[in-house]
Symmetry: C2
Subunit: 411 residues, 2 copies
Amino acid sequence: MINREDLAALDKADPLANLHDRFELPDGVIYLDGNSLGPLPKNVPARVAEVVQRQWRDDLIRSWNIHDWDRLPLSVGDRIAPLIGAGPGEVLVGDSTSVNLFKLMAAALELRPERKVIVSQSGNFPTDIYLAEGLIRQLGDGHELRLVDGDDVLGAIDDDVALVSLTQVDYRSGHLQEMANVTHRAHDAGALMLWDLSHSAGVMTVDLAGAGADFAVGCSYKYLNGGPGAPAYLYVARHLQDQMRQPLSGWHGHAAPFEFETHYRPAPGIVRQRCGTPSVIGMSVLDAALDVFDDLDMAAVRAKSQALTGHFIDLVEQRCGGHGFTLATPRDPACRGSQVSWHHENGYPIMQALITGCVIGDFRSPDILRFGFAPLYLRYVDVWDAVTVLQRVLADGSWDRPEYHARAAIT
Amino acid sequence: MINREDLAALDKADPLANLHDRFELPDGVIYLDGNSLGPLPKNVPARVAEVVQRQWRDDLIRSWNIHDWDRLPLSVGDRIAPLIGAGPGEVLVGDSTSVNLFKLMAAALELRPERKVIVSQSGNFPTDIYLAEGLIRQLGDGHELRLVDGDDVLGAIDDDVALVSLTQVDYRSGHLQEMANVTHRAHDAGALMLWDLSHSAGVMTVDLAGAGADFAVGCSYKYLNGGPGAPAYLYVARHLQDQMRQPLSGWHGHAAPFEFETHYRPAPGIVRQRCGTPSVIGMSVLDAALDVFDDLDMAAVRAKSQALTGHFIDLVEQRCGGHGFTLATPRDPACRGSQVSWHHENGYPIMQALITGCVIGDFRSPDILRFGFAPLYLRYVDVWDAVTVLQRVLADGSWDRPEYHARAAIT
């Protein structure tokens, strides 16, 4: 049995403990939803003021040259690269995860013209599936999205498959895929491999190069703390960059965009993945948010993440047993990301009561309470204190109020 | 012959004169590049602080409900609608102009499955052409982009044409298309019509409904002053919204995005044009920037625009005649947008000397000096003063310095 003092001792010994002060967190709030929207890094407001009130206001259009606005998609990408096992010039920031999925899936089908199948999981994040559906529907001509249950992916990869598209950490269960193994199996069958890192980058070691992955996408407003609707990123392995084309061939992906040539010529390298004008303010916010990752030991981040999630599982079972929770997340820390999810028939109202009690997680249909653990700003005692609130709302039945059962527009 | 006093008198009588104070403009700068990047509206920094330092910081993930973040693409779109002759629910903000072009061009080809041609102008803004090329290349199967010279558009619209895609105001010459006439000719031939409003919205009356246009896109960082890389917008005429599909079918365009269903179901209306998570900070900046357009008489804006550009043409010819400028813009004010462009063999170094002299316009290959006139923050005397600087750099030859001949990365 662990107690709060044990956890306080872990905080004292935590090499990452000082990072907590780099974030603005509202007083009293225990924030377990960094996998939906990371909190505000303290250095962001100054950077926003610099971009808006100095660069934009004073230097106006000249800022594209003076302040290297045009390089932001590449320079910010190069800062994300070490977090995901990519090299310089392999990561580009811009557009949304959804748009980037479309670019890479379309490019993959073109790289494997004799194959017409994309394999994914039925439990993949919906937008990953929806974009594949949109592409398949647009192309027609026998193209197919083959959706399989979680355990059946490897068996579904055959000679018809052009691309396997998976999310590294399942947004509902927190299950962590075996990236290297699945990638090798895809390659063995002649298929390309795309990973969505939205729920993994920033809280664990990710090694795209080590796995030999071809493509990746990811969202920067979750564990990278880039702010609401922050620009997403994409990865293309260097050896594929110059042989692939993507259909969103906007002017910023042109070899010479400011020559205003009549016909498209793709830029070399990752630049041909660019499309329209980059969102300078959003990219600048993300750039500032990434400061906290400079020289960070991601193995230490992963170790703390596993400890936080492990203690949370133990403490919920220790202190809230008998209340009907079923663990939805792998118990083996090597098999889960940085979240813990529980099935519960009253998951929705219980989560609303927790939020009222200043423990913010989220609910995912049909019955999942989801708690994200971001090692950069969470303390070990937060785990204890969150479970204390959970224990209370269960014990006093305060979750069972009509207002907690009424669904919000966005859950 | 007009003089500075005449122009000062026009400023005194200008019903829009007070709007100048709604913008931050650096001291001494005459800003004639609002068609590349509009200046900072004074109310934007407070709105940014509200979004970043209150909504994001304090309300975190709950802001999606509390602060209606999720409605921004629609609510900001509804504020652009009256500027372009659209109704409520016909304009959506999000993604880049380039991405939106792809969505609408792909949807148009699907609405006319028996036709395989997109018609555009070889002088259209490059990204409009490049995206059509990307789509055509992706689809193959006989699809074709038919690029014609400016005057030949009407003759190129035949029974094979699915879509005519044009920009209302030419980014180089400032030539204004006859929107209603071209749209009717496209419809007569059974084609759909898409307008790019990037160089027209915000400086003139635009009437998409009156012209019967099917689709439009536009950029918000030019004359709408939405900030660098601000989110773009798109328009779909109401009667087409529910019968069309676009391939970038991201989760935010789903009928029930937070139900996380396995398969895509398009939302009704304009919402199915959404794709990924909206860029909340960028949309909030744009939302604030649009305040200046509330209850604005766009006919008065157009009248001032025509007067500013007319005086500029007259004064350059009056005061800088014999220096080799050839007018690239229609002399008839009814046929031009809100810019004046001149051909000049030394256009690039002359523009650099002007910028050093605090008159900011821009250069467009191969030989065009381009001056944008935004009636909301420009004064009539600015026209005189800009020409004074031009007269000086021509008279003293100060434009002919080596440093002014060296091209910047972005021109």
